[in-house]
């Protein structure tokens, strides 16, 4: 079967998605099925200079990094490279949160920094003609398996169900909360989390955005072994348009009541359930997990 030709274009980025991709355990298999006409690290048949000055045959354009009109890549505006290849390719994939929503470098000093189609939640309408052929895979960085499997789905011609931000629902309909090993502390409102412990939930005090952040971090683990919330680090909502929020390690509360609640759960429902569960003390969850 013919290899699918992919251009990995990095714009305003830390290259974290590039390196996260390199954590995909079966890259050699991947490279049997795909070939990079350009990749920021892996050798390719073309130089960047050739890529930006010619129309090289290509099937999928991957964009990593935030987009800004005045961001220059190898002497040419980054958006010119996008436009050149957008015409050629069948699909465009925005890789990571920067390319999807603008991400962390939204606050850099360039003009009007955004993702390809979104500036945070807002549709930019700049590249409307490309909207139909775009798939977004947000995350800071992107999860290697989510990226690779999506590329295979495109190669197979599957019709992907996408959410409003063009993210594959199969990965982004879950919340980070799903599968977190600290779930019980959330369910039963045991709200005394301290850093450095196996026990407790970071939602109440330490800014965990897991219950209202879409992604599969606790379903498809990171580096195949762990996740931030399992390790005790609050979810920072890195797959979402608003990433990065301010005061990341702190839960925004009004009169002690969290401002942001599990996605799709009304405040009244949440508070009613919380009121009930908080009334009970679950001895097992008050104790250390491994105490004798």
């Amino acid at each position: 079967m013919k290899k699918t030709r992919v251009l990995w274009l990095t714009l305003m980025s830390c290259n974290g998605n590039t390196h996260s991709f390199l954590n995909y355990p079966y890259i050699e298999q991947f490279l049997n099925d795909f070939e990079f006409i350009y990749h920021p690290i892996i050798d390719s048949d073309y130089t960047l200079e050739e890529i930006i000055s010619q129309d090289i045959a290509c099937d999928i354009l991957l964009i990593e990094g935030s987009v800004a009109d005045d961001f220059i890549k190898a002497g040419v505006p980054g958006i010119d490279i996008i436009k050149r290849y957008a015409k050629i390719v069948e699909k465009i994939v925005t890789v990571g949160t920067c390319a999807t929503f603008g991400g962390i470098f939204r606050e850099s000093n360039y003009k009007d920094v955004s993702g390809l189609h979104f500036q945070e939640e807002r549709r930019t309408d700049k590249y409307n003609d490309l909207f139909e052929k775009t798939v977004s895979i947000s995350g800071c960085p992107v999860h290697p398996e989510v990226l690779v499997s999506t590329l295979y789905a495109i190669k197979k011609g599957l019709s992907l169900k996408l959410d409003a931000y063009l993210r594959p629902k199969e990965y982004f309909s879950y919340t980070i909360h799903n599968g977190c090993t600290r779930n019980e502390y959330f369910e039963y409102k045991v709200d005394n989390h301290h850093f450095g412990e196996l026990e407790g939930c970071m939602f109440y005090d330490h800014g965990c955005r897991g219950p209202f952040t879409h992604g599969s971090c606790n379903k498809i683990l990171w580096n195949e072994v762990n996740s931030k919330t399992r390790a005790g680090l609050p979810c920072m909502g890195c797959t979402e348009p608003s990433f990065p929020k301010r005061n990341i390690f702190e839960t925004k509360k009004n009169m002690g009541i969290p401002e942001f609640l599990p996605v799709g759960v009304s405040k009244r429902t949440y508070l009613t359930l919380a009121g009930i569960t908080k009334a009970f003390t679950i001895d097992r969850l008050e104790k250390k997990l491994f105490d004798d």
């Binding site: 990095t10 305003m12 980025s13 830390c14 290259n15 974290g16 998605n17 590039t18 390196h19 996260s20 390199l22 954590n23 355990p25 890259i27 050699e28 490279l31 990749h39 920021p40 690290i41 892996i42 050798d43 130089t47 960047l48 200079e49 961001f71 220059i72 890549k73 190898a74 002497g75 962390i104 470098f105 606050e107 850099s108 000093n109 800071c140 960085p141 301290h194 850093f195 450095g196 412990e197 196996l198 990171w222 580096n223 195949e224 072994v225 762990n226 996740s227 931030k228 390790a231 005790g232 680090l233 920072m236 890195c238 990065p244 301010r246 005061n247 990341i248 390690f249 702190e250 491994f290």
Partner: protein, 419 residues
């Protein structure tokens, strides 16, 4: 002539001028930046722990550790458990190791008529990533080191798991890179001791000798390292003379008119940082012998970097054994960091050398943040009277391809350099 240097976490432009068929001058320009230091201004201090790993996708963990130490340096007195210190050192070391593997197999290999060894680069890289993730939840871009310690609690089973990753990486290194048992490293004291050792490193060194490149890429023979750890020493080495007295305040940055990268100097002089600098300051016998023979050339530089891998692996084994799991991972600081009005400065040894962070906190916010990366030390351009380290190493070469190789032996990371 202008050469675009690619696949360096971005690009750089080298502008060469030749005289008598030799490179007579070269300017080094990094063409874009992301203004990370500006992004940090006005933020809550702890938010820097999330933003700074995003300076760089390949050495972001060093930025995390530098950030947490700079923030902690804002305290007159802050208690960090020994356990947390060891865990931080472990994860930082794992990052160094994986960076070294990637550089050797992906960046250096293609200069020697061999294709990139993707599988060899990524197998140990992924193992080290897993080891970091056990503590930090994920790699890249964890923020697990926070002011007061680390967020994770570690169990005996975690330790056992991480030890297997270390063993497997060691095994991989011995089978592929240098066919000598790590436990026998101490028997390697001279280049002659290397002669019956096999492996990919040996092959590359042989090719350097066959091509008669042993003396290419020499620079000032001045080295510096500010990051101290249980393994690395702080100091500078000038033509093998090592001194330990360094004042971090005397490290200065200068803006460039053509490049987004600021050059960095110590007492107005440029110094090389990185594994070779660390080996010279740490007086590693094998590297000292290579240096005695070939000076600060690409031979010594490549050897020093790859040879750091087994030593770091050995060190992580000792570190992990010294963990006392009964200690707390995190001790809540008595005063919240945002309440301080203070300046904190830190230096850590990242894969490519000394990384310095400096934070100023005022009125609950970050007032200013300064980041000095290893690649700024090594790669930034100076001017004719005072050339940068990599510039000096390229002068006198007779072709651009060789110059690119020399340039890349310093391991360029464009995103770090301009941040």
């Amino acid at each position: 002539m202008i050469k675009l240097i690619e696949k360096i976490e971005g690009e750089a432009k080298l502008n060469f001028s030749f005289k008598d068929n030799k490179i007579d001058d070269v300017s080094v320009d990094f063409m874009s930046t992301r203004h990370v230091e500006d992004i940090l201004k006005g933020k809550t201090p702890l938010d820097a722990l999330v933003i700074n790993p995003r300076v760089c996708g390949i050495c972001g963990h060093a930025h995390l550790i530098a950030t947490v130490r700079a923030l902690e340096a804002c305290y007159e007195d802050i208690q960090i458990s020994n356990k947390a210190k060891i865990i931080r050192e472990l994860t930082l070391t794992f990052e160094l190791i994986q960076n070294h593997f990637k550089w050797f197999y992906l960046t250096i290999f293609p200069f020697f008529g061999v294709k990139q060894e993707i599988a060899k680069a990524l197998y140990p890289t992924q193992l080290m990533g897993k080891a970091i993730a056990v503590f930090g939840g994920q790699y890249p871009h964890t923020s697990y080191a926070i002011v007061g310690g680390v967020v994770c609690e570690v169990t005996n089973m975690d330790i056992i798991k991480v030890q297997r990753y270390i063993d497997e990486t060691t095994d991989f290194f011995e089978k592929n890179v240098l066919s000598i048992q790590n436990s026998d490293l101490k028997t390697l004291n001279t280049l002659n001791d290397l002669s019956h050792v096999k492996g990919d490193l040996r092959d590359i060194l042989k090719k350097i000798e066959q091509n008669d490149w042993q003396n290419l890429g020499k620079s000032y023979d001045r080295f510096i390292a500010f990051g101290e750890s249980s393994y690395f020493k702080k100091g500078k080495s000038i033509k093998t003379r090592v001194t330990q007295n360094l004042a971090i305040d005397d490290v200065k940055e200068t803006d460039s008119t053509t490049s987004f990268a600021k050059s960095v100097h110590y007492h107005d002089q440029y110094y090389e940082v990185g594994p070779l600098a660390r080996a010279m300051i740490g007086k590693n016998p094998l590297i000292k012998d290579a240096h005695r023979r070939y000076g600060d050339s690409i031979f010594t530089r490549i050897l020093a970097r790859v040879y750091e891998i087994p030593q770091l692996l050995e060190h992580t084994k000792i570190l992990i054994e010294s963990l006392d799991l009964s200690e707390p991972s995190y001790i809540k600081p008595e005063v919240d960091i945002s309440q301080l009005n203070a300046v904190g400065i830190s230096a850590v040894e990242a894969a490519r050398g000394t990384l310095i962070h400096k934070v100023e906190i005022e009125d609950l916010k970050i007032k200013s943040y300064e980041i000095i990366t290893p690649t700024q030390w090594n790669l930034c351009g100076g001017h004719e009277q005072n050339l940068g380290v990599s510039q000096k190493a390229m002068i006198g070469l007779d072709n651009v391809k060789l110059a690119e190789m020399v340039f890349k032996t310093f391991d360029v990371c464009s995103v770090c350099t301009t941040h």
